[in-house]
């Protein structure tokens, strides 16, 4: 087997979020329209590696993804050892804004998955004028819990293998084993209770259903793409959200689960390329 180097480059940026310094890791590939990608809870930006290696995408888009603080190769803040990590809606939005500003992303398309697919609804609502569009993968405008909140107090959330087993059924049966297990490995890799900290945002601090109807999709197109097999953000959750946002486009992906870009990159490509083309051609 001959060696092969991918076109992805990874670097670190130092920036401030809510007045506190952070060292943030990001990866990128391509040039053109900035396409800012947000990873799922407890995971990191490697979820977008296939998109970053797809010429059809990178010929027109600068695909860029960062690891949230505490995730992947981004550090937790100095002093983390005395704190409990708990992602809030406000911090999440501030982190995305800080990164976009630091990287001078001009009118980016923001695409997020799961909790990233939730936060893009708020971004579209509050900052739609400065965005080229949002894509919510496995996204909706409000929480739809599928297990009891008391489970979050279980010590199992200290363990990556538990977090992986908790979400394993969200990968569709059709997804190739190689990518199923790579997707789950991202959960094995998570720091203790980081996934749980993200659940604070995903389950209790991200109900945007009352405001989502105010999104102006004329300025900021909204695409909501959800896998048929997703029972965390169900197709019904997505369709209901799309009904509340005038002009939003909902796409239900057959044979797909909760992690489209990483669990089945070939099948996801067929769904995402037309959406990206539509956004790029609008300019």
């Amino acid at each position: 087997m001959s060696a092969r180097i991918e076109p992805i480059s990874g670097r670190y940026v130092h920036l401030e979020i809510e007045g506190r310094p952070y060292r943030i890791y990001f990866e990128e590939a391509g040039s053109g329209i900035p396409l800012l990608c947000l990873h799922t809870a407890g995971a990191h930006s490697s979820q977008y590696r296939h998109l970053m290696c797809d010429d059809t995408v990178t010929d027109r888009f600068r695909v860029i993804a960062f690891d949230l603080p505490w995730h992947g190769k981004s550090n937790p803040p100095v002093g983390w050892e005395g704190e409990e990590y708990k992602l809030t809606s406000q911090f999440y939005v501030a982190a995305i804004a800080a990164f976009s500003q630091a990287m001078e992303l001009e009118r980016p398309v923001v695409m997020g998955c799961s909790m990233g697919g939730r936060v893009v609804v708020r971004l579209a609502q509050e900052q739609g004028a400065s965005l080229r569009g949002v894509i919510g993968l496995e996204g909706s405008d409000s929480p739809s819990p599928w297990y009891d909140n008391s489970w979050l107090e279980s010590p199992e959330f200290l363990r990556g293998d538990f977090c992986a087993a908790l979400v394993s059924g969200l990968v569709a049966p059709q997804s190739p084993d190689e990518f199923r297990w790579e997707t789950l490995w991202h959960y094995y890799q998570g720091g203790p209770e980081v996934f749980k900290g993200d659940m604070h945002f995903y389950r209790t601090d991200s109900d945007y259903a009352r405001e989502s109807s105010t999104i102006d999709t004329g300025h900021c197109p909204v695409f909501l793409m959800t896998g048929e097999y997703d029972y965390s953000c169900t197709p019904e959750d997505t369709l209901r959200t799309a009904e509340r946002i005038p002009g939003a486009e909902a796409i239900i992906m057959a044979g797909m689960g909760h992690f489209p870009m990483s669990e089945n990159p070939a099948a996801f490509r067929d769904y995402i390329l037309p959406v990206l083309a539509k956004i790029a051609d609008k300019d």
């Binding site: 199992e156 059924g169 569709a172």
Partner: protein, 124 residues
């Protein structure tokens, strides 16, 4: 349906390793038929078929025979591909002390998948 668990796990050292911290018993109900499964150190030491009179267990997973058959098919439809998909959509129920389940979640999920895995191995 779940009579196979004991021998199937005995033949799978990797599965025994994944469940090596499990020491629990649980109930799997297939329609009216209860299977009482005992696990010790990652080995399934017994699968007893009821009815039982006040047999104790930590947690119980219950679904109709039809639901388990769909779950065990080669490509389960949406809502049937995983224990939590089935509980979310009301196809199955989960009761009792979930701590041993959560502590050994991958292991138990793989036990539940064994009827499908064995059938697929046989057909190959």
């Amino acid at each position: 349906m779940f009579e196979c668990l004991k021998d199937a796990v005995a033949a799978r050292p990797d599965l025994q390793r994944i469940g090596r911290y499990m020491d629990s018993s649980f109930l799997l109900e297939v329609g009216d038929t209860p299977y009482h499964v005992t696990v010790k150190d990652g080995h399934v030491t017994a699968v007893d078929i009821g009815p039982f009179k006040m047999r104790s267990w930590d947690f119980a997973i219950r679904a109709s025979k039809e639901v388990w058959d769909v779950f065990s098919s080669d490509m389960p439809p949406s809502g049937y591909q995983d224990l939590f998909a089935m509980t979310r959509y009301g196809h199955a129920s989960l009761d009792g002390n979930t701590a041993p389940l959560l502590h050994n979640l991958r292991y138990v999920k793989e036990l539940l998948a064994l009827p499908r895995t064995l059938r697929q191995e046989t057909s190959q």
